[in-house]
């Protein structure tokens, strides 16, 4: 058990981060599954993290209540901005959500209560491994149920052909808002969990770079299944650690890996149809 204790004291934060990143990747998977290219999820994560941390530090709310508030607040924000913003599509939506992310970051930077550029220090370390595992499990279960239902089919239909979806009787605007809001809910939850094991949060963690990182996780892993985004989140968390020995070349190799995956596996690493087709063809060759 000693090796485990050693391992855990060194790497527990990393393992927690894998879980949080898996949640974030799932949050963007949800909006992508409805055809929405949104870059607001890092900001939603930030809103969740700050709301949760402030409630813990200043009002000493219980952890479940803190987590709920950390998820519901960004969801409400998403509901508010969704109506105007979701009229846009494609890169225009990406730009608008990006701008929204900057607004959130700059607001946090300039508020008194958030500690401004210095961030929030001394957030109690409340998050435990089982919290993350449980929330991740519930999220995966709910998304899996959603995917196989009329809601999941509506999302998919909107992603493929919005006009055809409308004429199938789907209220496209409402479903887009639903995907956007649920994505914000999950991202906020991830932020709230994250804030309570990193001790410290600052506005820098929720900027443009992180928005792109979250998107990359989902795209790298593949968005056709739920496994893909989680795999992408895990890889993008672990890869920099594994490449630690390369020192200065770390980001270079990290970037090269991403480029190679996008070039050769445009649908992501985890794509069941392609994997099945690959093995099916091999069997055929042998016969």
């Amino acid at each position: 058990m000693e090796w485990f204790n050693d391992f855990w004291s060194t790497y527990s934060t990393l393992v927690f981060t894998v879980g949080v990143h898996a949640l974030l990747a799932l949050s963007i998977w949800l909006t992508l599954s409805c055809g929405l290219l949104s870059l607001a999820n890092a900001a939603f994560m930030g809103v969740g993290a700050y709301v949760a941390a402030l409630l813990t530090v200043n009002l000493e709310w219980s952890f479940p209540a803190v987590l709920l508030a950390g998820a519901v607040t960004p969801a409400l924000v998403a509901l508010l901005i969704g109506a105007p913003v979701l009229r846009l599509s494609g890169v225009y939506l990406a730009m608008a959500t990006l701008a929204f992310g900057e607004v959130v970051r700059i607001t946090i930077l300039n508020l008194e209560i958030t500690g401004g550029p210095e961030g929030l220090n001394g957030i109690p370390l409340i998050t435990e491994g089982w919290h993350i595992v449980l929330i991740l499990a519930v999220t995966i279960y709910s998304l899996a149920r959603l995917r196989r239902s009329k809601i999941g089919r509506a999302f998919e239909a909107i992603k493929e052909d919005e006009i055809a979806a409308r004429l199938m009787g789907i209220n496209v605007d409402r479903y887009k808002l639903l995907a956007f809001t649920l994505g914000a809910f999950i991202a906020g939850l991830a932020g709230a969990l994250n804030a309570h094991f990193t001790f410290f949060i600052s506005p820098r963690e929720y900027g443009f770079e992180n928005a792109v990182d979250i998107l990359t996780m989902a795209v790298l892993g593949g968005t056709t299944t739920l496994i893909g985004p989680m795999l992408g989140g895990t890889i993008l968390t672990l890869l920099p650690e594994l490449l630690r020995s390369l020192h200065d070349f770390r980001s270079l190799v990290n970037g090269a890996v991403l480029i190679l995956v996008v070039l050769f596996l445009p649908k992501g690493i985890w794509e069941p149809r392609r994997i099945r087709a690959f093995f099916g063809r091999n069997k055929g060759d042998q016969a």
Partner: protein, 258 residues
């Protein structure tokens, strides 16, 4: 207005800026019949469909369905009222399998809430099961049930049209709008589809189609309207329309004065 008319279009006009696409278009689609809209390319036929289904708003005139106006309704609301359509350039969901494609059409008729969905309640499972069975039945109407779990993208052109057809029926329409249903089909496929459309009518649906294939239209439709340069130039039974001099002129050109 007689109650037997499913759809009444009266004095409808549509212009995009200075371009008048439709002017003073009026006709009535009776219930339980097959109605045809024909006309040369660019006459404005698909625009008529887009106005009826709520993708466009008319600049003038009224469109009534079962005695109530459709103006100002959104596309999905019009679908709920009982109008479904297919597209000239096929718009199936290519990355979904055939069964899912048809089940998307049943969206409005699946009435389970989010809680039932998350808890996977009996009611939710039963509704999904019924929907799956109904989707299979609709696929069997168009002869695609044996391909139900195939990706729609892998279908032949003709099969994609049939899938669109089944998907439109899944919305439980009272009136089915078909935009060039036999385009790209071979003669035997056309004959089969002709029978199928007749069957659909006999099941109590109204059918309103745009079609270029004259033999198909004349053989199938109870009444036909002819659109040319955004105006209705003739309306009547296939025989009346066939012998109308203006129609002949629109299609074949004017005879030179000898």
């Amino acid at each position: 207005m007689s109650a037997a008319n499913l759809l009444s279009i009266r004095h409808v006009g549509k212009h995009f800026g200075g371009l008048h696409v439709l002017q003073d278009v009026s006709f009535e689609v009776p219930a339980g019949s097959i109605y045809g809209l024909i006309g040369p390319n660019g006459a404005g036929k698909t625009t008529v469909f887009n106005l009826i289904t709520g993708l466009l708003t008319p600049s003038a005139g009224s469109i009534d369905f079962q005695g109530a106006s459709l103006i100002g309704q959104q596309a999905h609301q019009i679908t709920h009222r009982g109008i479904a359509r297919t597209f000239q350039n096929i718009r199936i969901f290519k990355e979904m399998d055939l069964l899912e494609n048809v089940m998307v059409g049943m969206h409005e008729h699946l009435n389970y809430g989010p809680l039932a969905l998350l808890l996977n309640s009996g009611a939710c499972r039963a509704a999904e099961k019924r929907a799956r069975e109904r989707a299979l039945e609709l696929l069997s109407w168009v002869g695609l049930d044996h391909k139900a779990d195939m990706l729609a993208d892998n279908l032949s052109y003709g099969d994609q049209r049939k899938l669109e057809f089944a998907r439109a029926l899944a919305t439980e329409p009272k009136l089915l709008l078909l935009d060039e249903p036999v385009a790209g089909m071979n003669p035997s496929e056309k004959t089969i589809l002709m029978e199928e459309i007749n069957n659909i009518r006999n099941r109590g649906y109204g059918v309103f189609m745009i079609e270029h294939d004259m033999r198909f239209v004349m053989g199938l439709c109870d009444r036909i309207a002819v659109l040319n340069f955004g105006r209705i130039i003739a309306e009547g039974t296939p025989d009346e329309v066939r012998n109308n001099p203006e129609v002949i002129e629109a299609y074949l050109g004017k005879e030179d004065a000898a």
